[in-house]
Symmetry: C2
Subunit: 433 residues, 2 copies
């Protein structure tokens, strides 16, 4: 398929063709070095001006930085070369000549602001540190899917064009669909629930979600990639087990399979979360927050947790933790309440010390209670008839959750801005590239 | 996480709790059988009316079909039971009572038209044959991703909200994005190309695409799940190798891991494609089609292939095959032409005897030729500046392709309608559920 040799695989004694980008040219007079970069690493190509054909030397040394070339020649041991080997070129092909002026320096020597980097993601991703983030992101997705399959969960794809939103119409992007009004889906919530009532019972989806929120912060996106899980016959405790399982599986896989990337990003000691994640009730959480003394005003039961409150508790706990048993009134209507305590819901959040990662819970599976929930939310249950009616035909008790891949990458790698964790972010200002 | 035992795991001598749907109740007078169904299979529960508590018998036999119940009791060997075991219930819990009237019979004894089935997908997917399609679909996705990783390809997610479409504005769904006009993306084409020019070099994506085509046929969808691949430093021949590799990997994985599902669907001998897929040039293809004598009118060079032409050739070849070397004028502008034959493109299609599966090719990576291509297509290159400008900064030669998961499932399983291969289809008439 691919005839070239990766630079990292070029061994002394080999005669190879390598191809990649011109990372740097250092002309020392009689000899000059061209550093060729590809996905696997870099290799030094030595040009001996007096001993090699003039045309070869001119071609090799005449190209601009970041041009794409292929080089054929012998590989030799060379202690002084950065990788211990160098190539003696027999032929050089210029596959694509780059402009002399670049909008961004892929060597990373010149700093660029995030906006310039995002405008030029192709060049930005030639920096190994940036590439490493996306290799890790891909590994997280692989590991999470593998974990889901290990517990008998079936991958599904649900529609992104929908007639109605999950939680009403305020944060939806409208579409024109063959003359009808439709929306881009903000969550697979309703569809994955429909599937736990089917023969599949336990499902997951990795896919895009769209939220027309007017937030413009370092941790919000208007399009994100969501990992959704839902299972029949488990309660919120069981759903938390799976949630914790996927998260640990992701950390473990990254530690095991992304050692080079972690080293590039400066992790000497990448911490896989150990032990069971503490499960604090909402009441315990507000008590602990109040006890930290970090907030100007004490929290009272019923308050939602502000960013400052989350931070204070995160510092106090020092690792991932769950908050359970939320007051029903601050959780979505499709979360079930305790039978013996209808003011307390079986909803939960998984928290990273820096921010909320996951929202989940046991769902309301009883038709009458669900329809009543829609009404209390000010939504018209008739509009959601395609969903609610299935609750009349044998809907099992079920629980689930969702987390955004970007927040997981962001917290795992300590990124300052969520836009670092997505190739082409979408926010209020950014619709292109 | 899940305390119940799957019915398939219940062994004689066990004391278990099973949970699932009431598949059937057969009352024989003194004794009655309730067949309980879950994801793993079915189990017979025997009620001995005179020997068991009245309340237990009434609860167990009083529920409507498709209600969700859990049953606790001993498992015993029983030759006459369908699975060779039966349960003697000690307790029965009704977890969710179903209505007496169902809009669809999940036992499959009463036929339903496709539209009714799609309106009631939850019930439809309680049929094992329907469930099997989606278990196979999930296995295909797993196998294809694994193949991609085995060749060093990195998973990416690209935006679905875009400022401009891949091939112009005619088949795009418009969105209102914070007051600006935007579109739902019809293909990751431009974004995946931007990524092969980055340090990632070789990428894949599995995600939704949106096409506002007015087709309403058994093989078109307005929202589909696409498998996209793109790699630097390979030509169209290399891209075909990968394409063939993923397809065979999918068939092999299904054969190996979905034996039960294939049996349910009636495959005695599921055929994994063997040998190399023939690669016919477009010229050879039209010659062979003409030679079949199946068409009323002979094809001439430059004609696109009609559905009838594809069928005639498919019958003649008898398996998967590629068509290569298409006339440049009937392939998209971003496909590269042969340097020594500019009227012939390096585009290819992968064909199943029933229909086209894949479209791909080597791409135009030279800035000037690409911009000229936009112009010839009647598109304004300035609108695609975010994409084209990256071709000035070192874009390697590259090739790729895309196929829809639904068409792969459809052709693999011989489904008559593509809507059978997607949980919640979107077409001109269908926007819900």
């Amino acid at each position: 398929m691919d005839d070239r040799t990766y630079t990292a695989d070029a061994e002394p004694g080999d005669h190879v063709t390598v191809a990649g980008w011109v990372h740097e040219v250092r002309d020392l007079g009689g000899i000059a070095f061209l550093i060729l970069r590809d996905k696997s690493g870099k290799i030094q190509v030595k040009f001996e001006k007096d001993e090699m054909p003039e045309e070869l030397v001119e071609t090799g040394l005449g190209v601009h930085r970041e041009s794409v070339i292929s080089v054929t020649g012998d590989v030799e041991e060379e202690e002084r070369a950065p990788t211990g080997v160098e190539m003696l070129p027999e032929s050089v092909d210029v596959l694509n000549e780059a402009d002399a002026e670049l909008p961004l320096d892929p060597s990373g020597k010149v700093d660029a602001d995030l906006s310039t980097r995002l405008d030029n993601r192709t060049l930005d991703l030639r920096k190994k540190e940036v590439q490493a983030i996306f290799e890790i992101r891909a590994e997280i997705l692989r590991a999470v899917r593998e974990y889901f399959r290990s517990i008998g969960s079936t991958e599904i794809n649900t529609p992104k064009i929908v007639a109605t939103g999950t939680e009403g119409g305020t944060e939806l992007f409208p579409i024109t669909y063959f003359g009808e009004e439709a929306f881009m889906n903000q969550s697979p919530q309703l569809f994955k629930q429909l599937m736990v009532g089917s023969g599949l019972e336990r499902v997951f989806e990795v896919g895009p979600i769209f939220r027309a929120e007017e937030h413009n912060t370092p941790r919000h996106l208007n399009e994100a990639t969501m990992i959704d899980f839902e299972s029949a016959f488990i309660d919120h405790e069981g759903a938390m087990d799976v949630c914790e399982g996927t998260l640990k599986a992701a950390y473990e896989a990254v530690e095991e399979n992304c050692a080079d990337e972690l080293e590039l990003l400066g992790y000497d000691d990448f911490g896989v979360p150990e032990g069971d994640f503490p499960r604090l009730t909402y009441e315990e959480a507000i008590e602990r927050i109040n006890a930290t003394g970090e907030l100007d005003e004490q929290l009272v039961y019923g308050d939602d947790l502000s960013t400052e409150a989350e931070r204070a508790l995160g510092d106090d706990v020092g690792g991932h933790y769950f908050i359970t048993d939320w007051p029903s009134e601050i959780k979505p209507f499709y979360i079930q309440d305790y039978e013996d305590d209808p003011d307390t819901s079986k909803g939960f959040d998984l928290m990273h010390p820096r921010m909320e990662l996951v929202s989940g819970g046991q769902r309301e599976h009883r038709y009458d209670a669900l329809v009543e929930g829609f009404r209390q939310q000010g939504l018209d249950p008739d509009q959601f008839d395609y969903y609610t009616k299935m609750f009349k035909y044998g809907m099992p008790p079920h629980s689930g959750w969702a987390y955004g891949v970007e927040r997981l990458v962001m917290t795992m790698l300590g990124l300052e801005n969520i836009r670092e964790a997505v190739l082409f972010p979408r926010d209020r200002q950014r619709l292109s590239p």
